[in-house]
């Protein structure tokens, strides 16, 4: 059983939902990322999503675009991101780590080299925003062989037939994008999301995480009532941006946000 599946199973037996923070690796400095990952886990995060910096993050709003720019200023590359995962794994063998990003850095590294390095680093899952299952045949096989879950996005525009196709191709969990838009844009409409999740659950037993538009304790709690996982990104990245000149404060300050969300979700 993959670490991700095990994590969701454990949470389920405790009647809890997964808190899944997203931060961009190397933002604002590569030195910050691993301590930040540990701080997030201590604050109650269950799974970590780590963004691979990319020069052209087409699905992201300004907040994460700027995070990519800050990370790239220090030349954070995919190999560096994998090194961070490996370093994190030295002291944490249980928390699943998922890389999230765009295909080109992986394409340029080569799928099989990536699979090999990712496995060695102790990575659990990968989500490539611009690689739909139709184009992912070879990629999926290699990831599967490396015991890495391939996580897909579902969106408000995804019709039933594609929900089936995507859930059949993915593993670990599916990520429901709660709004039409880029990251950090609108706030989500919980009843609408609930309705869509109901449809999705008819076609998969995989846990469903919901992301985009979760910005405070109240929205985290609301989503935790209808989804298996609550994915939160832009608010954390915003805090990182705020403290970019005072990096030592970042892990505690960001973890304070997730700790508070954790509390709200467990109430």
């Amino acid at each position: 059983m993959s670490r991700i599946t095990e994590c969701f199973n454990n949470l389920k037996s405790q009647g809890r939902k997964a808190l899944i923070p997203f931060v961009t690796a190397g933002d604002p400095d590569p030195k910050v990322t691993v301590p930040l990952m540990h701080a997030l886990v201590e604050s109650g995060a269950d799974i970590l999503e780590l963004g691979i910096p990319f020069s052209d993050p087409m699905a992201d709003g300004p907040v994460i675009q700027l995070a990519c720019e800050r990370a790239l200023l220090h030349g954070t590359r995919l190999t560096d991101v994998l090194d961070m995962v490996a370093e994190f794994r030295q002291t944490d063998q249980t928390t699943p780590v998922v890389l999230m990003g765009y295909l080109n850095p992986i394409e340029v590294m080569g799928y099989s080299v990536f699979a090999e390095k990712a496995k060695a680093a102790g990575l659990d899952g990968v989500l490539t925003v611009d690689l739909p299952p139709e184009e992912a045949g070879v990629f999926n096989q290699l990831m599967k062989a490396a015991d890495i879950d391939v996580i897909y996005l579902l969106s408000p525009t995804t019709e039933v037939e594609r929900v089936k196709l995507i859930c059949a191709a993915g593993s670990g969990y599916v990520y429901y994008v709660s709004v039409k838009g880029v990251t950090g844009s609108a706030s989500l409409n919980v009843p609408e999301v609930a309705e869509k999740l109901q449809m999705i659950r008819q076609h998969t037993d995989m846990p469903v995480g919901v992301g985009f538009g979760i910005r405070d304790d109240a929205s985290a709690r609301a989503v935790s009532e209808i989804a298996d996982g609550v994915i939160v990104g832009s608010v954390l990245v915003n805090k990182i941006a705020e403290l970019a000149g005072d990096q030592d404060k970042i892990p505690d300050a960001v973890a304070a946000i997730t700790a508070s969300m954790r509390q709200a979700m467990d109430k």
Partner: protein, 407 residues
Amino acid sequence: MPTKEDLAIAKQMPDAGGHFGQFGGRYVSETLMAALQQLEQTYEMLWRDPQFQAEFDYDLAHYVGRPSPLYHAERLSRELGGAQIYLKREDLNHTGAHKVNNTIGQALLAKFTGKPRVSAETGAGQHGVATATVAARLGLECTVYMGEEDIRRQALNVYRMRLLGAEVVSVTSGTRTLKDAMNEAMRDWVTNVDNTFYIIGTAAGPHPYPKLVRDFQSIIGREARQQCLAQTGKLPDALVACVGGGSNAIGLFHPFIEDADVRMIGVEAGGYGIETGQHAAPLSSGCAPGVLHGNRTCLMSDDGGQIIGTHSVSAGLDYPGVGPEHSYLQDIGRAEYTAINDDEALHAFRHLTLTEGIMPALESSHAVAEAMKMAPTMDKDQIILVNLSGRGDKDIHTVAEIDGINF
């Protein structure tokens, strides 16, 4: 050398998934998948529909002013002392470039889908102008994304778009040029996918865009082939077109794919020179395949997969990728790709203006420069057919600046 069978296959590309061999495809975030599938269905249905074809042909004839002439540049040819140069005069189209062929076609698709808003990215502003033009004609709301750097160098076109009622949004992310405008246009589309038809300006992007843009632009090659036969009794020896994303080039090339004796030469922007790294020439500099803006294609990225900043004096060629069909045509050996530097393009701009009284766009000047290099190496009875993709009015400002003149 591709065989006859290879060429027959090439002519039928892309496959059902939008692949040209290993290139093309549909690499986008999930939110856009449904819209692209819908666009594909609409397009496949309408493109075969005689009524749609008739409407498209009518607009091309009476609104764009087609057919565009094929002009024998006799004085230029005589002076170069070799092959005869013929210019396909896309510069004479309404709005001044080939771009309008495509926006007319996509506007008809937009009209059919009933979406009240269109959006576009633009580099030189020609596609933005062509989009704003069709939007004005159909009464559609129009937003055009343009890099801050390009807004500066193509100020005239920016004002033109605004006069046409379009909103021009300045893009300040990344390198502030065409690629960033395209990022922003895609972000807009993800957000407004329900009410917006995204009019891509070149033969790139996710399937079905490379195919439908090619089909709309192929009027260039179909006309040119007939005109060349009618005027000279034979096919040209070589086709030459500039390549940014590749829409004017593929429009010229595609109807000739199975004419194996006709060479196809795509001219990329060499910028300060390929050896300087400051260029926009993914094919001729030998870039490996990568994925950007929805398709797999030869792409300028570093060894970590980050997209590299490009440079060209011409905003319309200043793009790190290229339409997937060109990557494919290079891969199978059907088309050749080369680069022309800024200086050479500027020289060709001035030279064509002085010898023929035709002022080419800086983009098109790259193709003219390549033809000027080739002609002296060829026989007098050989023919080079150059796609003069646009007129140079929009670039007078840039050239004047280089001459130290400020208006």
